[in-house]
């Protein structure tokens, strides 16, 4: 630092570094000692860090460091702490019967908060983050429930799913009347229009109501019930209301009747613990007020 290069700047009387740009020379102004010392200390600190903490990437892993620290392990510890912190409350949730959760404001608030996050993680991809649903995926905010809207029914649907392959799952599907050759194309058009008339929608020209009713009675009543009021036992939707899972226009109805429908809801039992399942059921039930 005290190298003078033998070149002294005439104005300041200081030595220069010998570097020159466009006739401007750089004065040799040493850094403050404390600054230099702290600079070297940070380098020593960095080397210490390499040794103590995981630092160097190797081909398939990395140096683990003397402390054996890993962010994953510390995350696990923190999560465990969090679980312990919530343990009591979640245990209360796991122990309480479904109906009681709704009666206890504290438990209800907990279940709704927990349910909301779990819903976001697991259900939102199909039902939307607010449970608004999409074509083929039911809106959970309304009052129409394919498999029933009581707390218990919702719980059951979440636990076992629909056509999920679980032993206790909801079964039943809309048959493919066209593909399987049960109904002829013109019959399908007729019954589609008949179904539209059930919920007060307009029907096409030359639609024969009597014929439609007959086809409906022969093929559809078994599932959708007399008058098309639906049957939650089989997940058969009510055809007289204003809510249509796949759409109510003629073309969509024809497609539904021809190809059949069998939407799948996965079973969540086994993937989520029982307290979480309950929280989810309570949350979904509260979205639209359930039944």
């Amino acid at each position: 630092m005290t190298d003078h290069h033998g070149d002294i700047d005439s104005v300041t009387g200081k030595s220069t570094t010998g570097h020159e740009w466009d006739g401007i020379k750089e004065l040799n102004t040493p850094l403050p000692r404390w600054w230099v010392i702290s600079f070297y200390l940070t380098i020593i600190w960095a080397i210490g860090y390499w040794i103590v903490y995981p630092a160097w990437p190797l081909i398939s892993s990395n140096t683990t460091g003397l402390l054996g620290y890993s962010t994953r392990a510390s995350l696990a510890v923190e999560l465990a702490n969090l679980e312990a912190l919530r343990g009591e409350k979640m245990a209360a949730l796991a122990a309480a019967p479904l109906a009681d959760i709704q009666k206890d404001p504290a438990l209800l608030a907990l279940a709704r908060a927990k349910g909301r996050t779990v819903f976001g993680d697991n259900c939102a991809p199909c039902h939307g983050s607010g449970g608004a649903g999409a074509k083929g995926f039911p809106n959970l905010n309304d009052d129409d429930w394919l498999w029933g809207g009581t707390l218990e029914q919702i719980m059951q649907t979440i636990q076992f799913g629909a056509r999920s392959g679980h032993a206790k799952t909801h079964e039943g599907q809309m048959l493919a009347f066209g593909k399987d050759g049960v109904l002829k194309p013109d019959e399908i058009v007729t019954v589609a229009n008949y179904v539209r008339s059930l919920s007060g929608l307009s029907t096409g020209k030359g639609f024969d109501a009597a014929k439609g009713e007959k086809i409906f009675a022969e093929n559809c009543v078994a599932c959708h019930g007399d008058g098309g009021k639906g049957n939650p036992e089989m997940g058969a939707p009510n055809l007289t209301d204003k809510i249509w899972l796949y759409g109510s226009d003629e073309a969509t109805l024809i497609e539904t009747i021809s190809q059949g429908r069998a939407g799948v809801m996965p079973a969540w039992e086994g993937r989520l613990d029982s307290a979480t399942l309950k929280a989810m059921a309570v949350y979904v039930h509260s979205l639209g007020g359930g039944k």
Partner: protein, 488 residues
């Protein structure tokens, strides 16, 4: 003033010299007088409030904290005598901060840095620490002599130093201790602290504040004001030509001569100043400056040099206030033979006072009319509206009810708007007579999910305003808020 500077004089910095200038220790002398008395009085008041306020009780009824001033962090409440603030009312603190800032401006335009000299905690505690130092080690001369003495430490000297630091540490410890008492019930916490049952965080805070008080008031002292505090820099920009700053009236003081010489020269009819160059003003200055050099950044405007000089003037039989609160305009005027003018009421001070009055008045008004029942409504965004099976439209809202009173309240909720709206609270079946009712426990909030439905035939417009009313069934108090009802 405009003398040409030789370039060689600019290059005085020495590359290989010390990296910084060492601190010159200040040994302020004790002084008696008006400003010293004011300072003692303010110190007693400020420290008294700070140290004892947590022990003042205030009855708020059963189950509520009975501490007059309490910052209840776990429950997010702030108590100040009859005032209780909730987290959503933090704007009172914003208001308080604005008032405090403008009050500082006002002080500055009236009396310069009087905050620094009399009220700043750094000044107050440093002053207290100096008092202890003087008591234990003696006044200025003695302390200087003791520090300089190169004798091997005598037992007496060692015991003096130990005593001084012990008293300092005790004051510092009490300072940290009083701090934590503002965050918890004071008598309980004191008991817990003594029996080592208090939460760790309390001990940590006491340790931190003990250390900072000890170091800042015992060792850093005037260096805090000169090097660490931004306020001296800011106040220079805030002060104006009318502000009364501690000023050496050089029109009166110059030329300085000794007492004897002054008498001789005066007898000859020559003009001499009143300053006798006794250096008393320098000796008492806690920042170690010479006020006779004019206004300086280091000066904290404590007025002690005024007292010192006044004492000298009294002794030599000259009028007091050779140093006093004054401004340069008056020095100029006196030199021109005009009478000095003091102007406290100026546009600047009027504006500052008005701002304080308006904001303060508004805060007092809102505090006085603050409602103890409140409702906040948040419309569901996802989905905004839901069509029900019978064709009716439903909107969902998250409703937060606030009961800031000290008793449980039974409230009814209803929504009214142009369409024939019906209200339902999720989880509440009993609707009497036709609106949901709920109990909000005292001093707490309740969150509900409210479903509002418009019948299909009402055919609501895209967006209609809705008013939500929350009515206290017992007292008839109503809280209202508005939102929109949206159709798909």
């Amino acid at each position: 003033m405009n003398k040409t500077v030789n370039p060689n004089e600019l290059t005085s910095d020495d590359d290989y010299g010390p990296l910084y200038a060492a601190r010159k220790k200040v040994y302020p002398q004790s002084v008696h007088g008006t400003f010293r008395r004011i300072k003692w009085g303010l110190m007693a008041f400020c420290l008294g409030v700070y140290y004892f306020l947590p022990f003042v009780r205030w009855n708020r009824g059963l189950g509520a904290p009975s501490q007059a001033v309490l910052i209840d962090l776990p429950n997010s409440r702030f108590y100040f005598f009859f005032i209780e603030l909730w987290p959503q009312e933090v704007y009172y603190f914003t208001g308080l901060l604005i008032v405090a800032a403008v009050a500082l401006f006002l002080m500055n335009s009236v009396g310069g840095r009087i905050w620094c000299g009399y009220l700043c905690p750094q000044t107050v505690w440093t002053d207290l620490f100096y008092a202890v130092e003087r008591l234990v080690e003696g006044d200025r001369r003695e302390r200087m002599k003791k520090d300089k003495s190169s004798d091997p430490m005598k037992l007496e000297r060692i015991s003096e130093i130990v005593l001084k630091h012990s008293i300092w540490l005790m004051i510092a410890w009490w300072t940290g201790g009083a701090w934590v008492l503002y965050f918890n019930d004071a008598p309980t916490l004191v008991k817990e602290l003594v029996t080592f049952q208090a939460p760790m965080i309390a001990y940590i805070w006491i340790a931190i504040l003990t250390a900072t008080t000890y170091v800042l008031a015992g060792f850093m002292r005037e260096q805090v004001c000169t090097y660490m505090c931004p306020w001296p820099r800011i106040q220079a920009a805030l002060t104006d030509e009318w502000a009364l700053n501690v000023t050496y009236r050089y029109d009166r003081g110059e030329k300085r001569t000794s007492v004897k010489k002054a008498a001789e020269l005066r007898a000859l009819g020559e003009h001499v100043g009143d300053c006798v160059d006794c250096y008393q003003c320098v000796a008492v200055c806690p920042t170690g400056i010479d006020i006779r050099n004019g206004p300086q950044m280091e000066c904290i405007q404590c007025g002690l040099c005024i007292d010192a000089c006044d004492n000298v003037m009294t002794k030599i039989g000259r009028p007091k206030r050779l140093i006093g609160y004054d401004n340069d305009i008056n020095i100029q005027r006196r030199q021109e033979g005009k009478a000095p003018v003091y102007r406290i009421i100026r546009p600047r001070t009027v504006v500052y006072s008005a701002i304080i009055a308006v904001i303060g008045g508004f805060m007092i008004y809102t505090l006085a009319t603050r409602s103890l029942l409140d409702v906040n409504v948040l419309h569901d965004r996802n989905p905004v509206a839901v069509k029900l099976s019978d064709g009716s439209i439903r909107n969902a809202y998250t409703v937060r009810l606030l009961n800031k009173s000290g008793y449980d309240r039974l409230v009814a909720i209803d929504a009214d708007g142009p369409a024939n709206l019906t209200t339902h609270v999720v989880g509440i079946d009993s609707v009497t007579p036709d609106r949901p009712m709920i109990v909000i426990p005292r001093d707490s909030t309740s969150e509900l999910r409210l479903l509002v439905t418009a019948p299909a035939e009402s055919n609501p417009e895209k967006s209609i305003p809705v008013r939500f009313h929350v009515t206290d069934i017992g007292l008839g108090e109503v809280a209202t808020t508005t939102d929109n009802f949206v159709a798909p």
